[in-house]
Each structure stands twice: as C-alpha cells, then as structure tokens.
C-alpha cells in the first residue's frame, strides 16, 4: 500500500502542438545566424537537456532553460521558486557562463540584441529538436 501521495499523470496535456513549419533561422540576418550557429553548436556538443524523449517535454525544456539563460545574460532576476524552476536555472547558469566565456561578442550586445539573438536561438532549437525533427517518438503520449 502506498504511503506517499502521487499525482496522476495527465495524458491530455501531452499533445504535440507544432509551431514552426520551416527553419525559422532562415529569416534572420547573417550576423544573427552566425551567432546562433555558435550558440547552437555549444548546446548540441555539451548539453543533454534539449533531448528529452517527448516533444512536449522538449518544448518546456527549451523554453525554461533558454528563457532563464536570456534573463541571466541580461542581468535580470530569475525565478527559482519551485524545484523545477530551479532545475531549469541550474542549466541556464552553466549556459550563461559558457556563452560569456566562449563568445566574447556576447558582452558587446545590448539587452535588446541579446533578447533577439536568444529568441532566434530558441526558435532554431525548437525547429531542430521538435518541429523539424525526424524523431518519430516525439509525439508518443506516454513516457
């Protein structure tokens, strides 16, 4: 008999909702594309959080971690009030530090430029790992 309280998983929240139909980076100027390419390469080589097994999870991971990384790069306050938010923040801190250390151009950008670059990176990562992905398991509704 269980002594702990467990929440029942809600499968209805696990539906894949597409956002991008094509590579969103194609619409950006070459400078942003180059910068996003460098940032994307770092994530793909060093991180694992973008590859959770299901599409809806990847959407949350990308938004959570890249959102917080943007805030850190802009010097804004980051919400760490729940364990899950703190977990996103942990990966965001590592990414923020790595970007500052690896890409000197980051420190030359204004807040608006950082936000625009990170928005493009977020879109690109959503495209690569979710909407443009060839992984047929992303839409499976159970873990």
């Amino acid at each position: 008999m269980s002594v702990a309280t467990a929440k029942k998983p809600s499968v209805s929240q696990r539906k894949y909702v597409p956002i991008y139909q094509s590579n969103p980076l194609a619409d950006y100027d070459p400078v942003i594309r180059e910068r996003v390419g460098q940032m994307e390469n770092y994530i793909m080589k060093h991180c694992l959080w973008q590859f959770n097994s299901r599409g809806w999870d990847r959407r949350k991971q990308n938004a959570g971690i890249l959102g917080k990384t943007t805030q850190l790069l802009c010097g804004e306050t980051v919400d760490t009030s729940t364990p899950q938010e703190k977990c996103y923040w942990v990966d965001a801190v590592c990414l923020d530090r790595a970007y500052r250390a690896s890409f000197p151009w980051v420190s030359t950008l204004s807040k608006d430029e950082i936000k625009e670059t990170m928005k493009a990176l977020h879109a690109r990562l959503d495209w690569l790992t979710i909407d443009g992905s060839l992984n047929l398991e992303l839409t499976v509704q159970n873990y």
Partner: protein, 532 residues
C-alpha cells in the same frame, strides 16, 4: 537524407533507412536514421531481448535481492555475470542466479506451482535475503502463468519478504530497450512510495540510470558524499531494494543513462514533482559541469568546485599524457545505447581521437540525435547493425580501435582491429576523473599493444622478420612525438592503483550539519544566553 547502403545489405533494402553518413551542413532535420523498430527479417541483429533488458541490465544490479527468472534455465544462464556491475555486499547479485527451470511438461501443465516452490526454496537457501524480483520469460508468458498472483500468495504466507514482479518477456519489445521501459514503469507503479526512507541530509538525490559498472556508482557517490549529499537510492547499480522503494522522497533525480532510465525520472517528476537533471560522469568537462549543476541546485557550489579543483589537479597531467599519444586515432564508437552520446564529444575533445562512426544496438532515435550532434562530419551512424555490416564498416573506415560489446568486439579483433569493452569495460571504472584516465590508458594499451604487429602476420604465408626485436607500446607511441612531449616531466602515464574502488568503501566523510540542527543549536544558545 544522406543514407548509406551497405553492399552486404542490398538484399535487405529496408536497412538503408537505418544508416546515415553525416555530411557537410547536415543537421538533425536531414540526417537521422530510423531506430527502435523491430529488427528487419534477414538481418542477424546484435540486440538482446526485452527480458534481458529488464533483468540483466536494470533489475539484477540491485544488490540485496534474489533475482529469479521464471522460465527455462537458459534465459537465466545467458543473463548471468556477463556484465560487471559489482556491489559492496560481496557481489551477492553476481555470485548467484536463480531460475525456476521450466521444462516441456510445465509448458503443458503450467508452471505456477513450480514457481511458488522455487521462491520458497530460494528464500530458505538465503535466509538473510528478504527481497526478490521475479522476471517473466517468453515461455511462461505464453502459457499465461500468473506471476503476480503467486508473488502475492507468498508474501501473504511470508510477511517478512517483499517481491517485485517484472512482466517483460523477451518478445515484449523490439530490443532490450523495451525491457528497460517495462521495468522502469513497473517499479514506480509497484514499489515507489511503499517505504518511507530516513532522510539524513538537507540535500537528497536519487542517482538514476547508473549501474556501477566496475565501480562507477561508487566513484560518483564518493563525490556526492564529499559534497554532503545523501544518495537516497541508486537506480540500480549497487542499489538496495528498500532504498529504491523510497525514491519519492528525493529532492532531485540525477540521471546518467537516459536511454535506460529516463522513464522513471519522467514519472517521478510527474507524480511527485521531483525534477530531472541529466548529468554525465564521463569526461573532465562534462563531469565538472555535472557536479557544478548539482551544487548549484542545492546552493553548495563551493563544495563542488573544491572537488573539481582537487581532482583536476591530480589527474589532468595523466590525461594529457595519453591525449598526446592518441591524437587523430580513429575510433568506431559502437556501444549498446547511451555511451555513443556520453563519449562521442568527450573523447574527441579530451583524448584527441576522432570518432568516425557511431552505432547503437538498441538505442532510439533520441540517442542518435545526441550522438550525431556530438560527432563531426563524415561520421557513419548505424542503427541496429548486423555483423556483416560491422565488418564492411571496419573495412571501409579502417579504425585504430573499436569500443563495443564482446560479440562484435571479438569479431573486430579477428580483422586486426583492437577493441575495448564499452559495456563492461576493460579496466574500469571509467567514470570520475581517475576513471577517465583509466579509460584513456585502456585505449592507449589497446591501440599500441605490440601484439597487433605480431598477430597481423600470417605464418602460413608471410615472411617472419628475424632482424627486429620485440617493441614496447612506448616505442610505438612515442616514435613520432616531439622530444618536449615524449620526455615531458609534467605529464605522466596513469599512476593510480589497480583497484581504485575498494578503498572508497571504508572512507570517512565530513559531517555537514543540517540547517534544522543549526537553527536549533542557535535557538538553544540564545535561550541559554537569555537565561544567564
């Protein structure tokens, strides 16, 4: 899509969809093989079955448990002792294996009575062990034996024992990965939350997807303990059955092998709100980042940094010694599942080798996404390969070394390519800072072993040189090194001990006072001061 068709598989045209070569400018939207599908008839796969994936990979590393297979004895024999997941209780789970020894007559008349008799006999034979896992097999699943009912009966008769039933017969999935999935979900459904653990730290984790291959878990747990973190349970290497019943009380799930254990992490997150943090115990940078992230989560990053600084100072010169001698060596990284992405980038960056191919026997497309992302251009990626494809790839790529399992490894050796055991290791552990140097040493020893010069000669036709003496590894590896590298006193080959794990078992760790205790102590001090 940059598919590659092997000559040997032209008779199985569907195989083409399972092989890609990463070309210039390719990304995951254009370069990904199919994966986790039923093996195509005609292809002699190297996969294991779903029973093996559940029992051999995930269940059996639990150390204080009688693991019994309900089925023919061969199922148990073939999953016994072939992976080196050691434990700190004298390797009980490796020493003994249990089977109900089902025969033809039981297939006709049923094997439930036989199962019950075997369960009782096993508990009687090992009275100190009160926990059991039972694994369904193809034969007993097909005849419809109700393993759960028998387990319930025994637990009612013997209230001191607890039994877990894993219903993952061999046919329950395309590969062993199907069994990983089933046992993950079965464990959280049946056992998590059924025992309240004792919490001894302010920082509590489950260490998930870690199987203590040659001591990996013990190395990583050493770091966690040095940080004052309580490892509530390990799923499952060197893990205790009852500890794993208390997984619901951790604050963080730290996940290593996402391929085999992400399911339970994801379910723990959904059901109990415990977040999942993917980490990587292989490679100095990845491991440092991992410890740092755990430290950040608990607000104890300084403790992580102290360990990283100490370990890096101790082991970096030795890793550098091997890196200097492994530059540009071509590697086929052909493990079962997760190591293709755990290792792909780290061995290139930190050991200087070049990964020319990755393959996975039972990985999913998600594993290939990670692996292909971490490889360079020109890498050949193969899903569910067969032996002929492996041979053809070796002929095409001419690697200097191959990291794979025993079966394809022995095949590679026959072609003159040295192999390292990617599943059970050669001289592990490979996790941790020291472990990563041990891995580099094994790669060095494999590539430069003088035996390859001797073994490549065919005494039936080749002329045997008599004017040359025996060469050593060092003579081979340092031949073309500049003197400042070859004779460097700053770098050295591995200086650790043969057994790097056993001493950890008797190690004393610093006590980190808990916040509640500190608050109570302060309150006491204040009360005393007021009273005075």
């Amino acid at each position: 899509m940059p598919h590659h068709e092997f000559e040997c598989s032209k008779v199985i045209p569907e195989r083409k969809d399972h092989v890609v070569i990463k070309g210039k400018g390719e990304d995951l939207t254009s370069c990904l093989p199919k994966g986790y599908l039923n093996t195509i008839p005609g292809s002699i796969s190297e996969r294991g079955c779903a029973y093996c994936g559940a029992k051999h990979v995930i269940g059996t590393p639990m150390k204080d448990v009688i693991h019994i297979s309900h089925g023919p004895v061969g199922c148990t024999y073939d999953t016994w002792q072939t992976k080196r997941y050691i434990s700190d209780n004298d390797n009980f789970q490796l020493k003994y294996t249990f089977a109900t020894d089902v025969k033809e007559k039981h297939i006709v008349f049923g094997a439930e009575k036989l199962l019950k008799q075997n369960i009782k006999e096993a508990f009687k034979a090992f009275p100190a062990i009160k926990r059991m896992t039972i694994y369904q097999t193809c034969a007993t699943a097909l005849i419809g034996d109700d393993v759960n009912a028998i387990a319930e009966e025994v637990m009612a008769e013997m209230p001191e024992v607890d039994i877990f039933v894993c219903n993952s017969p061999g046919f329950a999935g395309p590969s062993q990965s199907g069994g990983h999935h089933k046992i993950n979900i079965a464990w959280i459904n049946q056992k998590v939350g059924t025992l309240e653990p004792k919490i001894t730290s302010d920082h509590v984790i489950n260490y998930v997807g870690e199987y203590n291959i040659q001591g990996d878990q013990e190395v990583m747990t050493d770091y966690f303990k040095r940080m004052g973190i309580q490892v509530l349970s390990t799923f499952t290497g060197n893990g205790s059955y009852d500890d794993l019943r208390g997984m619901h009380r951790a604050q963080l799930n730290v996940l290593e092998c996402a391929r085999s254990a992400e399911y339970i992490c994801d379910e723990l997150r959904e059901r109990y709100g415990i977040p999942r943090l993917d980490i990587d115990g292989f490679g100095f940078k990845a491991l440092s980042d991992s410890l740092r992230k755990i430290g950040l989560f608990f607000g104890i990053e300084d403790r992580a940094e102290a360990i990283i600084a100490e370990e890096t100072a101790r082991w970096q010169p030795e890793l550098d010694w091997y890196k200097a001698r492994l530059q540009g060596k071509k590697v086929c990284l052909w493990p079962g599942g997760s190591k293709l992405w755990h290792w792909a980038h780290a061995i290139q960056e930190e050991m200087g080798v070049k990964v020319v191919s990755v393959y996975t026997k039972f990985g999913h497309q998600g594993d290939m996404e990670k692996g292909i992302s971490r490889c360079g251009e020109g890498a050949l990626a193969i899903d569910d390969p067969n032996e002929l494809e492996g041979l053809e790839a070796l002929e095409m790529l001419k690697p200097d070394v191959i990291f794979t399992g025993k079966r394809p490894g022995e095949m590679a050796k026959k072609t003159g390519v040295p192999y390292l055991n990617a599943h059970a290791y050669h001289n592990g552990p490979y996790k941790g800072f020291e472990g990563w140097v041990r891995f580099a040493r094994d790669i060095y020893n494999a590539i430069y072993s003088p035996i390859h010069q001797l073994a490549s000669l065919d005494i039936s036709k080749d002329e045997i040189p008599t004017d040359r003496g025996f060469v050593t590894r060092r003579m081979l590896s340092d031949k073309n090194l500049p003197p400042e590298i070859a004779l460097s006193t700053e770098m050295s080959p591995y200086t650790g001990k043969f057994d790097s794990v056993s001493p950890l078992r008797d190690k004393a760790y610093p006590a980190f006072p808990r916040e509640a205790d500190q608050v109570a102590a302060m309150a006491q001090e204040t009360a005393t001061a007021v009273a005075e």
